[in-house]
Amino acid sequence: MTINRLILVAAAALLTFSQTAAADDTLTIGFTVSRTGKLNNDSIAQMRGFELWRDELNAKGGVAAGGKQYKVNFVSYDDESANARVQQLYTRIINQDKAQFLFSPYSSGLVATAAIVSEQYGRIMLTTGAAEEKTYKLGNKNLFQVYSSADLYLAGAIQAVKELNPKAEVALVYKDDPFSKAVLQSARKQVTEAGLKTALDEAYSPETTDFGPIINKVISAKADVLLGGGHYPDGATLARQLYDHKAGLKWVTLLVAPDSPNFATLGDAAVGVSVPSQWEPQVSFKPDFGPTAAEFTQRFQAKYGIEPGYHAAGGYAAGLLLQHAIEQAGTLDQVKVADILNKMDVTTMFGRTKFSTNPKEHGLQMGHEMVIAQWQKKDAKPVKEVIWPKTAKTSDILY
């Protein structure tokens, strides 16, 4: 009996002390990562951006707010690229792990689910890796989008194609998921407005591994240009099979996939493929705070051994923006931090950031601009170059 009592007392003491220790000097940020499932390539890149930010900040002592230093602590789980898990885990992160701020999962589909939970509990969530605008048009108060929204993704590519070949026949081949559909919905209109012909317009199931049938359709339609794709696995496969099938396209822009450094493993199949990018290591924004793009790239490379793509940069930027907002607010209070975020108009290594305060589309990113990167051959190896807009380019377009 006495032993049991002693154990109970010890446990109670431990709990009390650990609670206070946790509450005082730490800032808990919660999010899920798709460590497994189809989104894991890009989601892990995003997570590395978060972690690099956290490690650098904690090395300096943490976030400074109201005279105190808070070390950043992450609470993160594997959402398995599944909506059901996102819902369960964000509820857990808010209720049990008591996270004070949230980062989003990766991909518009999962973020839409996470946003429902975060709004339900009134927690600030910085969304990165999420371009679909619908999520922000449902009447939220605490979402803040870091990426440019989906309707801008292919606008640059379409403009470029129009300049190169006003008579081009365009095939729109894309993944049947919220993000890709959102991008292509705008792209469809932009293609017609640019006066280009749409030769083919088809969505493929996210489970597709064999693009042969659809590529044959592209060939039958005699298309010159292909716009579309989805995320990494399908984009990479589509690119590889387009090359194998000698589809004869003069311009291929795929979403997301070609931005990952892993895309280089496709070798010759990668050359010529372009991607709308939220960010590239070569950009030369002058940041108001935080490192420059070059410094960030160098630190990321030192830590992880590969060059960062825009997913990692977006993750890092989300951290920087939250940090800045907390420092400016001088407190961890949700309302005051949200206030600062709403008023924010700053430039970081990621570019310009300004959130919309229009209640109909709160949090939508207004300031950020996209670039187009294309894989080209340098010294017989595929290398990513920025080709659009003309003001930011590092190399000429390969058509």
């Binding site: 390539n41 049947d176 042969g212 049938p213 194998d244």
Partner: protein, 287 residues
């Protein structure tokens, strides 16, 4: 029109590989009346075997084919003794549950080891171009190998003593036992054979497309459709069923959005189950 023909040829090529995959499933089903739900895991085994043999050991991709047959066989026999031996002859539900759980274990192990990242084995093989459409060398090679292996299976089943024993056990296990055939060993051999077929089809699929630990599921599903088309326990029917499925996919895709193909496949599945319960190709059944 050329588009449709190209699509059909492509479909038939891939269909041969589907047929090979289904042969493993239907063999096990026919011989011991067990629905092998580890089929998908065996396919994935073949895929990863190719990846590791090609990248780690540096084997040329098609050289991995015989190695995978052996690996698949060994793993199949192991799975038989762990999960199947005690449920052969019992209620179907038991063998379903048993192989289902084994599948979960195998896929879980795979996910823990390799995560669900996509793996890719580049196989540079020149293709055949016709009227602007290219039939990749890998597709052609895979179809040829699938037919070759199917031919070898036929020889095994009809020209060797082991094959005779397998057919005897498939026909009537008790009678075979009474005739002095060690039925348990034959069953484990047959299971290993079925797994080997699944694995080698996985290897061939891996030369065509990238894959992840979870890729086996989609092909397992196609194998079920093909097995039904061909008739349970009928390997020749399975090969023909696979080619037929590939053909149907090839004919359908030029005329409708690609996302409709699975709908057509499964409508066909249901139609065949109702109208031809013994399979469309039941006339090729062995006896």
């Amino acid at each position: 029109m050329t588009g449709v023909i190209a699509s059909i040829i492509d479909g038939v090529l891939v269909g041969a590989v589907y047929g090979l995959a289904a042969m493993g499933l239907t063999l096990i089903w026919g011989v011991m009346n067990v629905i092998n739900l580890t089929h998908g895991a065996m396919i994935v085994l073949g895929m990863f075997a190719l990846y590791f043999l090609a990248s780690a050991v540096g084997l040329p991709p098609y050289g991995a084919v015989p190695v995978t047959i052996v690996i698949g066989f060994v793993v199949g026999v192991l799975v038989y003794w762990i999960a199947v031996h005690r449920v052969v002859g019992r209620a179907h539900l038991m063998s379903l549950l048993s192989t289902f759980s084994m599948n979960m274990v195998l896929i879980g192990l795979g996910t823990a080891l390799f995560s669900t990242s996509p793996y890719n084995v580049p196989v540079p093989l020149p293709g055949v171009t016709w009227e602007g459409y290219t039939f990749t060398g890998t597709h052609i090679m895979a179809a040829i190998l699938a037919l070759l292996i199917a031919g070898l299976l036929y020889l095994l089943l009809y020209r060797t003593r082991v094959g005779k024993a397998i057919r005897a056990v498939a026909d009537n296990r008790e009678a075979a036992e009474l005739n002095g055939i060690p039925t348990t060993q034959v069953l484990s051999f047959a299971f290993g054979l079925g797994a080997a077929l699944a694995s080698v089809s996985g290897t061939l699929i891996a030369t065509l497309f990238p894959f992840t630990v979870l890729s086996g599921g989609a092909y397992e599903l196609k194998s079920f459709v093909v097995t039904v088309l061909g008739g349970l326990g009928n390997p020749a029917g399975a090969l023909m069923g696979g080619v037929a499925l590939g053909l149907i996919e090839g004919i359908a895709t030029p005329f409708m959005p690609v996302s409709w193909t699975p709908i057509i496949e499964f409508l066909l599945f249901i139609a065949v189950l109702i109208l031809f319960p013994r399979g469309i190709f039941a006339f090729t059944r062995f006896s």
